[in-house]
Symmetry: C2
Subunit: 187 residues, 2 copies
Amino acid sequence: MTELTNFIQAYFPIPLNQVETLASYFKYKTLDKGDFFLKSGSYCNELSFILDGHLRIFETVEGREVTQWISSRGDFITDIASLVFDQPGRRNIQALKSVELYSIYKEDYDRLPLIIPHWERIEKQFLAKCFLTLEDRIFSFLSMDSAQRFQQMFAYKPELFNEVPLHYLASMLGMTPETLSRIRSKV
Amino acid sequence: MTELTNFIQAYFPIPLNQVETLASYFKYKTLDKGDFFLKSGSYCNELSFILDGHLRIFETVEGREVTQWISSRGDFITDIASLVFDQPGRRNIQALKSVELYSIYKEDYDRLPLIIPHWERIEKQFLAKCFLTLEDRIFSFLSMDSAQRFQQMFAYKPELFNEVPLHYLASMLGMTPETLSRIRSKV
DNA sequence: TGGTCTTCTTGATATAAATCAAGATTTTAA
DNA sequence: TTAAAATCTTGATTTATATCAAGAAGACCA
């Protein structure tokens, strides 16, 4: 369980004893390659922490799959529309390899404000950080060409490019697999 | 002041008497055309509500201005990095016409959790909604061409296209003014 | 009022990236 | 172990969009 507590500490600025308390609500589980963490339209009733493996967030648009993001070891994964607003999940989330997770389920998650002091504030700050990250990603589409977006992503998460089929990464970067291949061959 | 309370009610699900309390912290101010609400690198110490006019959020990249977003009547405006994390503002925010605002300043803003019950939760939900909006915008760059992005934006905020110079909108949509002009001429 | 600046459009051309196609390599599964 | 499927690359071609250029219309101002 120590790995989980380390990750929690990295994300949430709370005292050590509360880290332990928070960690105690998370339950270990695994997904096999191809399993769905969430299917679009279903409810997502968990917030999960990825211990190992990759989860692809995607949607099918006019017959082709558009990959929004790939989450990996050290990332949290959930569907905000479900978890925060009790709405149907907006995207598919599928394991690209076998995945190890620690999950807190909605029943426990909803009681965290009563258990962890200032939980709502901590969560607000967590969401604010996500907001800044998404803003930067939008800005990258407004200001960079394909090669620059590749370089930025490669600098940010180099291991992805070994561990995940490249056509998913191409989609996530807003380009075709052929374009990504040609960009890579020039470096 | 009733307009402000209406807008607050639309955004924040709190009882009427608290709406009044919250509204009492906001101060009216105006900006002239061309004035900066925020300059990149400076601290933004206010959360503001736009009563009238348009504010353009942009950054200069390699000599050219990239417009990230244009906020209008009914929108909130601030810099999250400053307001939440006390960091320098990330973008320029400039009035495109004369603008009327109601602003709450950081000193008061920071005390809201003590004044408005469940304020942190309300704010968390507000940020979660922003998160979903930004996600959708990212998805539009992954799945749509220029004409589709134009149509989506035109359906969402048609009045913008009368009231704001089109080259700013083009930049915000990730295309050149010429491309936007040609797309428009086909409709 | 006239003149300058900004905005917007339109045409010609260039460029980035998509599409189509095929082959090579690797992975998966029977 | 082998066949099938998935992945990745490379080349040829097409398409979407950017760039360059010029002119028209409107806004702003001295």
